[in-house]
Amino acid sequence: MTMKRITLLAVACLVLGADVWGGMNWGFSAGAGLCVLRQKEVQEVYGSGFPVGAQAWTGWGNWKVSVGFEYLSESGQAVALNGGADEFPLKLKASSIPIALYYQVWMKDMFLAFGGGASYCWYEERWEDLDIVTEGKKWGPLLSFLAGYRLSPRWSVFGNIRYEPMPTGKSSLLVPEVKLGGLKIGAGVMFYL
C-alpha cells in the first residue's frame, strides 16, 4: 500500500511539476463514454456503464503523461438466481484516478496515441432498500488507444478505446473476482494551454 501511495505521489509530482522542465505542454480533456464488454454477470446487474471524466495532460515530444478522474454511477437490480419474483434496487458508484503514459504521433491535424498505466479505483455498492453496503478500493491496469483531430491550435476532439477492468479483489456468488470495468469507448474534447 505504501508503495502504491508513493507511486501515485511520484506520478502526480511528475505531472504537476512538469512545467519546470522546458518544452513541456499542458492540456486538459473532458469526455464521456460507454463501458461495454464488462463481466457478463456485472452487466446482468447494472447493464452497460456510462463513465464521465476529465484528465490533465503534459509531456514532451511524443510522450505524454495523463492523470485524470473518472466517475461512474449506475442503478441496477439484483439478479434472481432461482426464480424469485422480488425486486431489490441497487446503486453502484465507482470513482477512479487513471494514470497513463502515452506515445503520441501526429499526422497533419490528426493524432494517434497509445498508452498504458494504472488506475486507482474506489467503489461503493448499496442495496437501496436494505442496509447492505460493499465498499473497497484497488489498483488495476489500463491500456488505452486514443485518436484525435485538431480543430484549432488549442482545441482538439478525440475518441478513445480503453481497456480498464477495475478489479476489486472481491469474490461473489457470481464470479471469482468482481471487475467493475471492461472495455470503455469514449469521446471528448481536449484543450491546450
Binding site: 454477470e41 446487474v45 455498492e125 436494505l130 460493499t134
Partner: protein, 556 residues
C-alpha cells in the same frame, strides 16, 4: 525391418494403453484449509473419514494434483482393485504380529491400522474377537462438508414436560431380565443358530408390544443373518425418523460356543427394548425405529446394510442413537461417553444438554471420526448424523470379548442412568405429543429465493406448513446450527401457515422450525426442522468462503 519395428511399437502402445491404470489406496492428511473443497473439485473417491485424515482411492495424477496444494498424500496400497480393507485397532504386540502374518497391516493413525489380504478371505483371517470396520466401497464425498462447531450453543428448543415421566418408567428389573434373556442363548455369534434364536426373541418382544416389527435379512460371506427392526410411526411427520439401536450379536475367544456378551452388547439391546416398551404407549411427532443389529462383531455388516438401504430409499433420518456397552463401570462416578463425527457434533451437544435437563448423568462429548468400531459408523458413511453411547471410548471392561462378560459383572446403577439418558435423548428428538397443547404443525418445507448483486447475495426463505385447525397463530424459529440454538424470529404469532424470512445472508445455512400457538399462548412442540442450505458459488470452486481450486477437465 521397418514394418516390423512399426508393428512392435504399435503392439507396445496398444498394450500400454489397454492396461488399466492402478488406483491406489491413499491417506490424505487433514489440516490444509479448504481440503474438503479441493477433494470435491477434483472428485477424489474418498471412502473413509478419520480423525486426522481421509482414506481415498486415487490415481497417480490425482495424487499429484492434490500435492500441488501442499496436501500430504501417502500411498497405503499401490493397487486397490478388488481388495477389501478393514480398519483395526492397536493390539498387543503378539496379536499385532499374528494379524500382520495373516495379511498386510499398515498404521494409519495412532492406534489405528489398515488390514487387507492379497489372497484369501480377510474376514476369515482376522481373529473373531478383533474389532474391525470394513472400508466402504462407495464414495462418501457427497456427504463431506466443512463444519463450524461453536464452543457452546444453547439448546434453543423447548423441554418437553412428558419426558421426565417417560424416563422414570425405565425399570432396572426389566433391564436385568433382558440382558439375562440374551445371555441365556450362550452365544449370539452371528453365524450360529443361537444368534438366530436371539433375534427371534427380540422380534417376539417387539411384537408383544404391538409394534410394527420384522427381520431385515442380509448375507455376509455366504452366511445369512438378520437385523430386527421395529417402528412406532410418527403422528406429525412420519417420514422423519429417529433411530435407537444396538447390536445383539456377541463374540469371544470361543465365539461359536460361549459368548455371553452381557455388556457387549446385551446392555445396548436391553436399553433399546426398554425404550420400545415405554414409548409404545406414547404418540410421537416423528417415527422412532428400534433396531437390534446383527454381524456387528464381524464388521458392522448389519448396520452397513441398514444404512445403505436407508440412503438408497432417501430416508430422512434425523439422528441415530447407537448404544454399545453401557453397563460396566469400575468407577461409581462413571460418565457416559458420547462419540460423534464432525457432521454429527450437534447430536452430542444436544445429548449433553438433554442429560443435564432430565437425568443428571455426566456426558463426555467426544468428536472423533476415527471411532469407527460400532454401528453408528456406517450411518456416518451414508451422511446421517449418529452418536455412539458407550461406557468408555477405550473399553476398560476386563471381560470384554471374553466368556466372562456376564450379567453379574454389570453396574446396574450406571446402566439404568445410561438407559434413561438414551431414552431422554431419543424422546427429545422424536417428541412425545403433549396432551392439552396445540398439535405440532406438520409438513414444514423451506424454499429459498436468492438475489445477487455484483458483490453480495441475499436470500428470502419461504416457509410453508400444514395449518393446525384450532391454532390462533404460529411462531417461527431460526438457527444457524442444526437442531440447536433456535430463536423466535416472528415478533408476534403469524396468522397463516406461511412465513417469509427476508434478506438473509445467502452464504449461510439456516435451520427453521415452527410451533402452533393457542389463544391462551400455549405452544405446541416444534415442527420438524428444515434447512435452507448455504448458496454456493455459480462458478466452479470448492466451497463458499474458501480458496478457489482450478477447474479440472478430465476424460473419464
Amino acid at each position: 525391418m521397418k514394418p516390423l519395428r512399426l508393428l512392435i511399437i504399435l503392439c507396445l502402445a496398444i498394450f500400454l494403453f489397454s492396461v488399466p491404470r492402478p488406483v491406489a489406496l491413499v491417506k490424505i492428511s487433514k489440516g490444509t484449509p479448504g481440503l474438503v473443497g479441493i477433494l470435491k473439485a477434483h472428485q477424489i473417491d474418498v471412502i473413509q473419514e478419520l480423525k486426522t485424515c481421509f482414506l481415498a482411492r486415487a490415481e497417480r495424477d490425482e495424487m499429484a494434483s492434490l500435492r500441488t496444494y501442499g496436501i500430504s498424500v501417502s500411498v497405503l496400497d499401490r493397487d486397490s482393485r478388488g481388495n477389501e480393507y478393514f480398519l483395526v485397532p492397536s493390539l498387543s504386540p503378539a496379536r499385532l504380529s499374528a494379524v500382520s502374518a495373516a495379511g498386510n497391516l499398515k498404521p494409519v493413525e495412532p492406534n489405528l491400522y489398515l488390514f487387507w489380504t492379497d489372497q484369501g478371505d480377510p474376514l476369515a483371517l482376522l481373529p473373531a474377537d478383533v474389532e474391525r470396520k470394513p472400508l466402504p466401497r462407495s464414495s462418501i464425498l457427497p456427504f463431506l462438508k466443512t463444519y463450524t462447531r461453536p464452543e457452546s450453543v444453547p439448546l434453543g428448543l423447548k423441554l418437553n414436560d412428558m419426558i421426565p415421566a417417560i424416563i422414570n418408567q425405565v425399570s432396572r428389573a426389566n433391564l436385568r431380565a433382558y440382558v439375562q434373556g440374551l445371555q441365556d442363548f450362550q452365544t449370539r455369534y452371528s453365524t450360529t443358530a443361537n444368534c438366530e434364536a436371539a433375534g427371534q426373541f427380540i422380534l417376539g418382544f417387539f411384537q408383544s408390544l404391538g409394534l410394527e416389527a420384522g427381520f431385515q435379512p442380509f448375507t455376509i460371506g455366504g452366511i445369512s443373518t438378520r437385523n430386527v427392526v421395529a417402528e412406532i410411526q410418527g403422528e406429525t411427520d412420519p417420514e422423519d425418523i429417529v433411530i435407537i439401536c444396538g447390536h445383539y450379536d456377541s463374540t469371544s475367544g470361543e465365539a461359536e460356543v460361549s459368548a455371553p456378551g452381557a455388556d457387549d452388547n446385551a446392555s445396548g439391546v436391553a436399553a433399546v427394548m426398554e425404550a420400545a416398551r415405554i414409548l409404545a404407549g406414547y404418540p410421537l411427532d416423528f417415527t422412532v425405529r428400534f433396531i437390534a443389529f446383527s454381524a456387528e462383531e464381524q464388521g458392522l455388516y448389519g448396520s452397513h446394510y441398514h444404512s445403505a438401504v436407508a440412503r438408497e430409499g432417501l430416508e430422512r433420518i434425523i439422528g441415530v442413537v447407537n448404544l454399545d456397552m453401557i453397563s460396566y463401570t469400575e468407577d461409581p462416578s462413571e460418565d457416559l461417553d458420547v462419540i460423534v463425527n464432525d457432521a454429527s457434533w450437534w447430536l452430542a451437544e444436544r445429548a449433553g444438554l438433554v442429560a443435564d435437563a432430565y437425568t443428571g448423568l455426566a456426558v463426555r462429548k467426544i468428536v472423533d471420526a476415527s471411532f469407527v468400531y460400532s454401528d453408528h459408523s456406517p450411518f456416518w458413511d451414508e451422511g446421517y448424523p449418529a452418536l455412539c453411547g458407550i461406557e468408555d471410548a477405550n473399553p476398560n471392561n476386563p471381560y470384554y470379548h471374553t466368556t466372562g462378560d456376564t450379567v453379574d459383572t454389570l453396574n446396574f446403577d450406571f446402566f439404568e442412568d445410561a438407559a434413561r439418558t438414551a431414552l431422554a435423548a431419543l424422546s427429545d428428538l422424536a417428541q412425545p405429543v403433549r396432551v392439552g397443547y396445540p398439535r405440532t404443525p406438520a409438513g414444514l418445507e423451506a424454499e429459498s429465493a436468492t438475489y445477487a448483486s455484483a458483490f453480495t447475495a441475499i436470500k428470502n426463505v419461504n416457509l410453508t406448513w400444514q395449518a393446525v385447525s384450532d391454532a390462533a397463530g404460529y411462531n417461527v424459529y431460526r438457527s444457524t446450527y442444526p437442531h440447536l440454538g433456535h430463536v423466535k424470529i416472528s415478533s408476534s404469532p403469524v396468522s397463516t401457515a406461511q412465513f417469509t424470512d427476508r434478506a438473509l445472508e445467502a452464504g449461510t445455512s439456516y435451520y427453521y422450525a415452527v410451533t402452533a400457538v393457542w389463544p391462551g399462548g400455549l405452544e405446541s412442540n416444534f415442527s420438524r426442522q428444515v434447512e435452507s442450505p448455504a448458496e454456493t458459488a455459480r462458478y466452479e470452486q470448492p466451497e463458499s468462503g474458501q480458496e478457489a481450486a482450478p477447474v479440472i477437465w478430465r476424460w473419464r
